[in-house]
């Protein structure tokens, strides 16, 4: 274990965090991309250096995605889209240091809880993950979509419309099961479908620019920068709501871990389900409610980061792109994943756990603070200049994801759509959720149907699938009841 804490590995941890925080803060540059660009380097490094770097890149980059939410209203990941509105309201009221402090502190808390659960339950979680087939994934997607419907303060019907629009967008391109091109209008660029990160940049960032151009006369609503010391706003004040709601933090982290360890489902669904559970169960209004939702979302998505490693470590099955890369590093270094890894190489596993804890305890707050300083400096830029910079970032961000200029057109198109949706009061985040979950839903429905030779009853045959279905029904019932209560109190 001691060999893990050489100066090289600690340096890797620090440099990884620096790289991750810069990368995550720029819209379009995601945690996955950050790790992917690190591959050629990682393969030539000792795993003792490469793994800490990857862990700290992914932990910090996912948090840094929230910086984009505050500065440019562009969420860094679909997970942070779940609480974008709430976060920007919190930042508007109490300043960027408090807003980002809230994200960083609850991310760190979630990350630590996630790691502790990983330590306690890794092998149990792996044996559950082993039983997930396309039927269970289908129900997970349904659960995520249901959560999306009720994760809105406004009209449920409008949320459904936004979700369906997102699912419609997700059907563009070669169909995932049988390979037929759909809605490609003879454009080879459309064969690959619409990328949801590109869409997210357009829906949130570019439409924000359009919105400001449109509302020109009505003045601006720049963020206030509080006079209180930034350090206090970032490091200590956010703990008040977090400690006050400690059970909720625990619950959201647990949810994040539960969804996060499923190969492929990941942090996004966790964050959405947690935020919508809090939106449904909380009666408090305004300030407090916004903060609760931010805490729930961020703690659950960072908790998921740690548990996403379970299937890779215990089954040799990568859960997402990041862990796929990690698995590649393992195999190249002759480390064999599997249940035996936990028995035969406990020092490696414990070093990983400790690295996770260190990344969450030290790297995330420290580099989080640096990015918050950067954010507070950025938002002091006069709005006109900031908006033109955001428009520029949107164009560049949309381009870099796939190095495709066609994506810039898609981004613009999404911006215009979002401008229209905002006029009608339709939520935007649900469009992104639809685009993320649409393909998962479709693939797993089709695969299940083909597998069972179109016997629809097979969707209700498996025990875990039934549990997920029951959870979906509970969310629907509670959601409808909350809606009624809200209406009657109005």
């Amino acid at each position: 274990m001691m060999e893990f804490f050489t100066w090289q590995s600690l340096l890797a941890l620090v440099l990884g965090a620096l790289y991750g925080s810069l990368f995550g803060a720029i819209p379009g540059l995601t945690a996955t991309l950050a790790v992917a660009l690190f591959i050629p380097v990682a393969f030539f490094l000792d795993p003792i250096v490469a793994l800490p770097a990857i862990i700290s890149i992914s932990a910090v980059a996912i948090y840094a995605g929230d910086v984009g939410s505050i500065v440019a209203k562009i969420p860094g990941t679909p997970a942070s889209a779940a609480y974008l509105e709430e976060l920007s309201r919190v930042a508007k009221r109490k300043g960027p240091f408090y807003g980002l402090g809230l994200c960083a502190m609850s991310s760190a808390t979630g990350g630590i809880i996630g790691t502790l659960l990983l330590i306690a339950l890794a092998t149990t979680m792996a044996s559950i993950a082993k039983n997930f087939s396309s039927f269970e994934y289908f129900w997970i997607a349904i659960l995520g979509l249901t959560a999306g419907v009720f994760a809105t303060g406004g009209s449920t019907l409008k949320a459904v419309v936004s979700l369906l629009l997102g699912i419609l967008f997700s059907t563009v391109g070669i169909d995932p099961t049988l390979g037929f091109p759909r809605f490609e209008f003879g454009q080879p660029d459309l064969l690959s479908g619409l990328n949801y990160i590109v869409a997210m940049i357009g829906l949130f960032g570019f439409s924000e620019v359009l919105e400001h151009v449109y509302r020109r006369a009505k003045g601006t609503d720049a963020l206030s920068v509080s006079d209180d010391s930034p350090g206090r706003m970032f490091f200590s004040l956010p703990w008040i709501p977090i400690i006050k709601r400690k059970w909720m933090v625990l619950r959201s982290s647990l949810l994040g871990v539960l969804v996060g360890f499923l190969p492929g489902a990941g942090a996004d669904i966790g964050s959405w389900v947690s935020s919508s559970v809090e939106k449904m169960t909380h009666r408090s209004e305004g300030d407090a409610e916004d903060e609760v939702i931010v805490i729930a979302g961020t703690s659950s998505n960072n908790a998921a980061v740690a548990s996403a490693w379970v299937p890779s470590l215990a089954l040799g099955l990568p859960g997402d792109t990041i862990t796929a890369i990690v698995l590649g590093v393992f195999l190249m270094k002759g480390i064999t994943p599997g249940p035996l890894l936990f028995e035969q190489q406990p020092e490696l596993i414990w070093s990983l756990y400790l690295t996770f804890l260190l990344a969450n305890l030290i790297m995330l707050p420290v580099f989080g603070y640096l990015t918050a300083r950067m954010a507070s400096w950025l938002i002091r830029i006069p709005l006109d200049i900031l908006l033109s910079a955001i428009a520029g970032v949107c164009v560049v961000g949309a381009y870099v994801i796939n190095n495709s200029s066609f994506d810039i057109l898609i981004m613009t198109f999404m911006g215009i759509i979002a401008f229209g949706l905002r006029r009608g009061g339709f939520p935007l985040a649900q469009v992104v959720l639809g685009m993320v979950l649409g393909p998962i839903l479709e693939q797993n429905f089709m695969v299940s149907a083909i597998k069972s030779r179109w016997d629809i009853m097979s969707f209700f045959d498996r025990p875990i699938a039934l549990v997920l279905m029951a959870l979906t029904i509970v969310i629907i019932m509670v959601g409808i009841r909350t809606q009624r209560l809200r209406k009657s109190t109005d």
């Binding site: 991309l33 396309s134 080879p188 479908g193 190969p263 089954l315 099955l317 190095n403 695969v447 597998k451």
Partner: protein, 326 residues
Amino acid sequence: MECNRKHHLILLVTILFLMGGCGSGTTSDSYPSKPLTYFVPWAPGGMTDMTSRMMAAALQNEIGQPVNVVNRTGGGGVVGHLALAKAKADGYALGAVTVEITMLPHMGLTDLSYEDYHMLALQINNAAAVTVRKDAPWNDVPALLEYVKNHPGELQASGTARGGVWDLARIGMLSEANLEPQDMPWVPSQGSAPAMQELIAEGVDVVTASLSEVDAMRQSGLVKVLGVMSEERLSAFPDVPTLKEQGIDWSIGGWVAVGVPADTPPEVIANLESAISAAAQSKAYTDALEQAGSTIQFLTGESLQTFVQNQHITNGKLLTKAGIAK
């Protein structure tokens, strides 16, 4: 004033840097005088991406110019292959060309074919394998195929999309054993990882993805490999018998080559070919590929052209047999 002086200094340094940058660009007019772009039609982290990044890194050392890897994904490989075919044929655009280029044109998805590229070198060719759950009753491929023969349509296989290279591996194996494709139907998946998940969750019974893709789970003791579809046993997996040894004369693999647009000038091609041949010899490159579980098959020139042409014909026949070709 202090501040002003500092600004001047920064300006001066910047100008010096810029001049330095210009200098290296203008003084050498021989190829290559600027960075190269390396197109990869598959996502970061996958086998093609890893293989291509290793080549890009080794090539960079040989030619003394940066080689930037650009992933253009989607459309079952169409988008990235198209990007390379349509790139400016000046020797500054090269990229990975994968087995799909001999399949996509038969499927009516694109007009592209291997003739749109000049192939420089074959990098790897990873043979398909027959993988089943650890507790499955079959211990070799003939036993599995015997079961399929007696229970047609009962077992299901997966590994990639419909009509993908591992689907062809299944069709070829079945047809070699005088069975029909529908005797062991295909369940499409988004790649080998989701297919392996289905396998251990008892969703499908057989996975025909490459041995390197299933190796992690083989080592973790959840699955067993009944045979590999290569001509000879793979040096990295000496304990896995070939299908040939088991009486089924069939081999197929997913390969990754490096190519340039067809119209690239011959002198540039000659230059690149020798640089790539040298890069492929480097120990860092071969070690990295082998440790990733890939089988290196280095082919250039005539033998590569013949290889790709044969692939185009064989895969066309298989796709027609499966009723996927248009």
